[in-house]
């Protein structure tokens, strides 16, 4: 008999070593997330996947699934919290969706739609961030960076390159490039790197191909982020078990 826990009252089976998020995704229950990727070690920084277990908040991407525990996920309070966290991500950066080439393919934008975000609510911070277009093939637009460290981890864990790091603290932290000049052109980045492919926003993009997909044929014109993520996770499990 397999182990299980309860997610909003529904029994969710899990395997030994799975986190709450992994088990929920395996069972077809989407929990919003931006910094979590199945290919990478969990990071627990975006806090979107927060759930309540025994009255306390936990990041479901790092919390091990445990037999019989009661997990609250889709409560009005948690939905409001996730919406507020997403709003904060928008106002802490400079996200201009109308002219962004990732619009329609951006996970931050898709998550905002999924969560029913209607406005930014909080005052815009308008941080001054330096764009790095020095590389001939890859563009780094820090205005769009949400500091989820997906590129940092992907570069280390999947590309074996260690191109990126976060420096500074708190709201002043920013994405840095590990190169002698601090510029992308002097790093080992390549457009095929997973660090580029996995960026959930338009912070890291391949140059000169923007807007190649017309409206109606972009990723999130076809399906919601929940459907996409669940399908991709199921495919991944089918391949890797």
């Amino acid at each position: 008999m397999s182990s299980s826990f309860f997610l909003d009252g529904k029994a969710i089976p899990f395997k030994e070593g799975q986190t709450v998020l992994q088990a929920a995704m395996s069972a077809g229950h989407y929990i919003p997330h931006l910094c979590w990727r199945p290919e990478l070690e969990p990071h627990s920084s975006c806090r979107l996947c927060t759930v309540i277990i025994s009255g306390k908040p936990f990041s479901s991407c790092t919390q091990p699934a445990m037999e019989g525990q009661n997990v609250e996920c889709d409560t009005p309070e948690l939905k409001a919290m996730r919406r507020a966290v997403t709003q904060l991500l928008f106002v802490e950066g400079n996200h201009y969706c109308p002219s962004c080439e990732e619009s329609g393919g951006c996970k931050l934008q898709a998550t905002a739609y999924y969560l029913g975000m209607q406005d930014n609510h909080f005052p815009h911070q308008f941080p001054v961030r330096v764009r790095d277009s020095s590389h001939p093939l890859v563009n780094l637009d820090r205005d769009r960076c949400i500091r989820c460290e997906t590129c940092v981890r992907a570069s280390r864990e999947l590309d074996g390159k260690n191109v990126f790091a976060i420096h500074g603290r708190g709201i002043r932290s920013k994405l840095a490039v590990n190169s002698p000049t601090g510029l992308l052109k002097d790093s080992g980045i390549s457009p095929e790197d997973m660090a580029v492919k996995l960026c959930p926003t338009g912070a890291l993009t391949v140059k000169r191909v923007g807007f190649e997909f017309p409206i109606g044929q972009r990723i999130f014109d076809q399906e919601s982020i929940a459907t996409l993520e669940l399908r991709e996770y199921a495919n991944q499990e089918a391949v890797h078990g």
């Binding site: 002219s99 962004c100 764009r131 277009s133 563009n139 807007f211 017309p214 409206i215």
Partner: protein
Amino acid sequence: MTPIANMQLETAIHPEGLRRTVIEPITRVEGHGKITLLMDEQNHVKQARLHIVEFRGFEKFIQGRPYWEIPVLVQRLCGICPVSHHLAAAKAMDMLVGARTLTPTAEKLRRLLHYGQTLQSHALHFFHLASPDLLFGYDAEVATRNIIGVIQAHPGIAVQGVMLRKYGQEVIRVLSGKRVHGNFAIPGGVNKGFTKEDCNYLKKDLDQVIKWSQSAVEIARGLYTGNLEENASFGAFRSNFLSLAAPDGSFELYDGKLRATDADGGRIFDQVDYANYLRHIHEEVKSWSYMKFPFIVALGNDAGWYRVGPLARINNAERMPTPLAEEARKRFAAMGEGGPVHATMAYHWARMIEMLYAAEAIRELLDDPDIYGKDLLIQGERALEGVGVIEAPRGTLFHHYVVDENDAVVKANLIVATTNNNTAMNSAVREVAAHYLDGKELTEGLLNHIEVAIRAYDPCLSCATHALGKMPLEVELLDAQGRQVHRLIRNADGSCEEG
């Protein structure tokens, strides 16, 4: 009114003690502007100005952005004619990626998008914005002088306008994914092909659209000729005209070369490659407007100002490429008796001829097998500078960009149709103010006469103000008795001096 008398009303010699009347905001135009009148005790007009008081600054804040983002970014200049900015920027980006000639499919689909845009914008202007003045009279009751009044009194005309605009918007939606602010043109071509289903959908209503467009030409012609004497003189003045023209001198909206004609119809220049526009067009800045004043270099800033838009294009065209529009153009041209038509109010008639052309041109393109091609993109040798010029609904639109070796925009210059018409609109304001308002007690109806003259140019004020740090300013500190204590002047080159 002589040209000198007209110009004298730009700046009053002794503004002190004059009474100031402000029309703000100017209504039924896109964007925010105001008109100021300075009048003496006998209500004689001493100064009349059109001020564009909003500031957009696109030329500045697109600096640093990657070039492929620009056609999508700059279309946010406007909600009425975003396609014009989208295409003008895309044409400039074509030069950057070395795509001097697009594939036939890409060019024809861009043209289709542009004609849809021209159709919807012209319908919007004539029916929604201008027709209340034309149908009810310039000083009709203000409560009915609006689109709701048109719907109530002339429901057939109102429906025609709404449906014409809807059709143009549908052309845009089918191609770019959205009626407003979609994306379609990318550097070197377009991002989406065209299908038989798209074609069948757009052909369904096209015959009716062409009939409505023909009827619109007749409405505009009837309104103009029905009160010929007043319409021919209302806000009228002689001017130069600038537009694109096809190599054979015929009407052209999407591409072609620059043609400028003088007030008698003589050529100032012709078939000028628009990439060299800076050799022929310069811009002047004045301290009282955020909008610049372009002029033809060879004639200087006093005599070199010109008009653009429907009146300029129809005057400059030797023929229209489609039969119904050509027939309409000939009737229009007859009004000029061998020379250009100069009447400000003739803009509406010319605009409807263009709308008819757009509808006919859409039909020709929908019958062209090239639109189903799969070859959508082309690229060549990269360049660091690109210029795109297009005939936007309101007139000739210049987009000029310089990028660095990292693909980021470092410099941008936008000369928007409304900017090109800046001096002309001010001349029309002064003309109407002097003729209709001088010496009279001002009423709402009289003030609307000035707005009528401006509306004829269909200005898009929010498109037109982008220069940052170039405007000369004059700051005066006065004491309680109105005596000048201190004066500081910032010149157009950025230098400051104490006056």
